[in-house]
């Protein structure tokens, strides 16, 4: 592993991945890989999660192709130096922000969307000009093996190596120095990743999880709300970091909610869910047993059937769930939907705020004001009102957590920025020493006044002041440029005199 990382760093230092042409060429190759190997990719995902083709395509390939297209199109504008507003002191200088690669970055993937959770960050990391070490989750072993196979066939092998393995290999990887680490997974391991990063002062993006609450207001189209919730909850058999984890609603609508979800489930998966090609399975026995344990002592309003041999758990709804029960303690990550009755939106907000900040928060209501209120009085990584999951698909929105659900964000341009260093640059003229004289010791009152004039921003909301300031600056600059050897002292004195005469009053 040390050698793999060392080679990536040497390749980065050699400078291959700095040119935009190289980065776009690699992204194009990645796009080719996704299109040419589509069948193999879908087959691997099916083997890991029992996910059907169209589902796997829309979850893991479609969004990725979108990111690739967007990134390739926008890269030159994202990577271009960004000029910034200057003040009077720097009016004649070049001031800009350069987007530079960080170096060698590490991407650790998760098993629930094993392909896209590696590929989407990879797109941003390549676009930003980094070398990338990719570590897919060993739990989704078929996809991990596939990625290790096909990535080197399409991408530069030294710059973008794939490392496979379990905990020992990951631990070894985390001992190496990286310039950024993006980890998708759970909070417990997130802490370990950040602690390892701290030893090297490596910045991290942690995409973690939590219990994403879903509040259903009594004033809402329940049929529509429940359809959307059913879709988001049971997709990938509930193994989605932004799945609505539990429902909060008034006890009077609880049974309606259950009926609506039951009806939708029938519509989606038919009478015999187990035989529907569109319903996935739990990833492995460990998680199967874990989720089963959460059902103990609960009132099962629907579902509850399981089959250990195939890791099948039927879509399940629990009612009148107590906040202290086990199912309300950890992120469920399975097809079990608890409903916790609350009497009002105030109670729901209080309930949510007593707990760790979730990755996503959902509210269904016809009342716009109620939705706005929940947004303003809670905190979460992201939010969707009147639907679930959908904020994930809009790449202009930064996708990430807060508090226990993570730090940092990505998607679209945010990926590029996450994997870039924004370097501030100021380029001055080596001549034109005149203005600088006033900052050097020995100090006098005149110099203090200069400092106030040139640097201090006035607290003002008037546009006139700014325009006058700019005009004065331009006049001063032109005068200096044309006659600096003669007039610099005179102009400065004029300007200072004017200031003393009372410009501050105008401003």
């Amino acid at each position: 592993i040390q050698q793999v990382v060392g080679r990536a760093r040497a390749a980065f230092k050699a400078g291959r991945c700095r040119s935009l042409e190289f980065r776009i060429q690699q992204l194009k190759a990645l796009e080719r890989m996704v299109k040419e190997k589509e069948r193999e990719i879908l087959a691997a995902i099916k083997a890991d999660l029992h996910k059907c083709g169209p589902n796997a395509y829309s979850h893991e390939i479609m969004g990725l192709l979108g990111e690739l297209a967007l990134t390739m199109e926008k890269l030159s504008s994202w990577a271009a130096p960004q000029p910034v507003k200057r003040n009077l002191m720097t009016m004649r200088d070049e001031a800009f922000i350069r987007y530079e690669p960080l170096g060698v970055v590490l991407i650790i993937g998760a098993w629930n969307y094993p392909f896209t959770l590696i590929m989407q960050p990879l797109v941003g990391a390549i676009a930003a000009g980094n070398a990338v070490v990719v570590k897919p989750s060993e739990i989704s072993e078929n996809t991990a093996k596939l990625i290790a196979d096909i990535l080197p066939q399409y991408l530069d092998q030294e710059l973008y190596p794939v490392v496979t393995g379990g905990v020992p290999e990951t631990t070894e990887l985390l001992k190496q120095r990286f310039d950024h680490i993006l980890y998708t997974g759970n909070s417990a391991v997130g802490k370990i990743v950040m602690a390892a990063a701290a030893k090297h002062l490596t910045p991290v993006t942690l995409e973690l999880g939590g219990k994403s609450p879903c509040y259903i207001d009594s004033d809402c189209d329940l049929a529509v709300a429940c359809r959307r919730i059913t879709w988001g909850k049971y997709m990938n058999c509930g193994q989605t970091c932004i799945a609505p984890d539990y429902i909060l609603c008034h006890p009077s609508i609880q049974s309606q909610v259950v009926e609506n979800i039951k009806a939708t489930l029938q519509e989606f998966y038919g009478a015999d869910v187990k035989s529907s090609p569109d319903y996935e399975r739990i990833i492995n026995k460990h998680h199967f047993k874990r989720i089963l344990g959460l059902l103990e002592g609960q009132k099962i309003a629907h579902g509850g059937e399981t089959d250990e041999a195939s890791c099948f758990i039927a879509p399940t709804i629990l009612t009148d769930v107590s906040p202290e029960s086990k199912v309300m303690e950890e992120e469920i990550f399975g097809p079990v939907l608890p409903i916790v009755p609350v009497k009002s939106v105030e109670e729901a907000i209080e309930f949510i705020n007593l707990r760790e900040k979730p990755l996503a928060l959902y509210v269904f209501s016809n009342k716009k004001e109620l939705i706005k209120r929940v947004i303003s009085e809670t905190s979460s990584g992201g939010f969707t009102g009147n639907d679930v999951i959908m904020h994930f698909f809009l790449s202009t929105l930064p996708f990430g957590g807060v508090g226990n659900s993570g730090m940092g964000a990505y998607h679209g341009k945010h990926s590029f920025e996450t994997f870039s260093h924004r370097r501030s640059c100021l380029i001055k003229d080596l001549k034109m020493e005149g203005t600088n004289n006033l900052r050097y010791p020995p100090i006098s009152q005149k110099k203090v006044d200069w400092a106030k004039f040139f640097i201090l921003k006035r607290f003002n909301k008037g546009q006139i002041g700014l325009a006058l300031l700019a005009l004065l600056g331009i006049v001063a600059a032109v005068v200096w440029k044309n006659h600096h050897s003669v007039l610099k002292r005179k102009a400065l004195l004029i300007v200072l005199a004017v200031q003393r005469l009372g410009w501050p009053n105008v401003w």
């Binding site: 990063a197 959908m390 930064p398």
Partner: protein, 464 residues
């Protein structure tokens, strides 16, 4: 748990929502402005006692630059707080999509001793502006300023939401055991690691403003006098105790011989024949720092008068990479000159070392400046001058690698202390448009979904 009560108290204030309304934040920021005005003399005195900070330097860095940030924040807060509406794709065309700037909650700001007011207040301004509750921990090494902050800030800011904690390493360690929602640290890389490790236990995001050795390349084609003055100014400001001070010079043997007299001249011009007696030259903050820096002087050839006993501005020539002065960030009034053959060697020298907070390059040839910029990596960069990129609030200020992570100044401070929350507010109606995404799945549905969700490369048409 000595600070658990305090943190818990602030958290309760935070949960009450008091710090969220714009009016409240503006009131607190205005109070900070009054603090800077009312306590101007006390600040100048305290920093003079702590490290002999010259009046002008203290006024410029501790007061003027802070007021700048304050005014910029007050002028723009309304704009910064607004929801930022974002572009939408086809499927979300009829929805409201925006980024909400949420405060983190209870944040911790740990300040250093070299610009003890500025480096605490500027982050504080952003933290308040972003709507957080804040615990501020000034450095115990700048004792007088620490006392001033502890005594005065509580008279200006809401004590239920903002607190000052004083103390040394032990107290800071205990403080870091608590859970914060964000930690902003300015100081050394070694302590930066400790802070980040402590933060990792609670999954607390951090901004670390650290340091390193900031190289300064002076090319052969350059206006020597101007370069020397700008270089000397940047190096000897605050007696060299500046995180972005030019730490060492890289130049050719020829240029070294030209630079030395020019630097001597600049030093004489700035501080007179006896810098120790000039009111415009600071001093080391304490004995320990003094002794540390003095030990670095056993390197190279002393090119300036004064030297060892007096800790006056010192230029060392013919310094070797193995010399003591090249092993650590100097943080004192010593400017070593390391001779390199040419620009390429200078760039290799820089790239062989940890990435610094700032890189400087002096040349009348803009191509040379650009080469150094493009072939190196650093927090920030300034061509043909020193320190000045720090004063432009539209430039993000921060490090990379060993010199830090995160950035601030101007709007970047507000952004640093805000959580950018992606929000999508959808329509409850038009459910028919959603049907392609629901099971049971079919090729036909997939086609529709692809068309509405996907972003296509320009030039390919989508009919929908």
């Amino acid at each position: 748990h000595p600070y658990a009560g305090l943190v818990s108290h602030l958290r309760t204030s935070w949960l009450s929502g008091r710090t969220r309304p714009m009016e409240y934040r503006v009131a607190q920021l205005e109070a900070l402005g009054r603090f800077l005005d009312d306590k101007k003399e006390e600040i100048l005195e305290a920093t003079a006692s702590d490290m002999g900070k010259p009046c002008f330097e203290a006024f410029f860095s501790e007061i003027l630059l802070c007021k700048n940030e304050l005014h910029q924040t007050l002028n723009n807060l309304g704009q910064w707080m607004k929801d930022e509406h974002v572009g939408k794709n086809l499927v979300t065309q009829l929805d409201s999509a925006f980024i909400r700037k949420d405060p983190y909650g209870v944040v911790l700001i740990i300040g250093p001793w070299n610009y003890p007011v500025h480096l605490l207040l500027v982050p504080l301004i952003g933290a308040i502006a972003a709507g957080n509750c804040v615990i501020v921990k000034p450095s115990e090494i700048s004792k007088n300023t620490e006392r001033l902050m502890a005594e005065s800030l509580s008279c200006y800011l809401d004590n239920d939401c903002y607190a000052v904690v004083t103390g040394g390493v032990q107290e800071t360690t205990k403080l870091l055991e608590n859970k914060f929602d964000f930690i902003f640290f300015t100081g050394s890389p070694a302590v930066g690691r400790v802070v980040m490790s402590a933060a990792a236990r609670h999954l607390t995001p951090v901004t670390l403003e650290l340091g390193g050795k900031n190289p300064c390349y002076v090319s052969d084609s350059c206006h020597v006098q101007n370069a020397a003055r700008r270089l000397a100014w940047g190096r000897f400001f605050n007696a060299g105790q500046t995180c972005i001070a030019p730490d060492y010079v890289l130049c050719s043997l020829e240029m070294q011989e030209k630079l030395m007299p020019a630097l001597r001249e600049a030093i004489a011009e700035f501080f007179g024949p006896n810098p120790r007696e000039s009111p415009d030259f600071g001093r080391m903050v304490g004995d320990k720092q003094f002794r540390r820096v003095r030990a670095l002087l056993s390197s190279g050839r002393v090119a300036t008068p004064g030297g060892v006993q007096e800790m006056s501005p010192t230029v060392l020539a013919d310094v070797l990479p193995s010399d003591p002065v090249m092993q650590e960030e100097i943080f004192g009034p010593i400017l070593p000159i390391v001779v390199v053959a040419n620009m390429d060697e200078a760039i290799d020298f820089i790239n062989a070392r940890p990435r610094p907070l700032a890189i400087y390059a002096f040349s009348s040839d803009s191509k040379v400046v650009n080469q150094v910029l493009e072939r190196t990596s650093s927090g920030g960069f300034c061509g043909n001058d020193t320190l000045m990129h720090f004063t432009l609030t539209s430039l993000p200020f921060g490090g990379i690698g060993n010199s830090g992570l995160g950035k601030y100044h101007g709007k970047f401070t507000f952004d640093t202390f805000s959580h950018q929350r992606g929000c999508l507010h959808r329509n409850m109606g038009l459910e028919a448009l959603n049907s392609p995404r629901y099971p049971p799945y079919s090729q036909q549905k997939m086609g529709l979904v692809t068309a509405t969700f996907e972003i296509k490369r320009r030039g390919m048409c989508t009919i929908l």
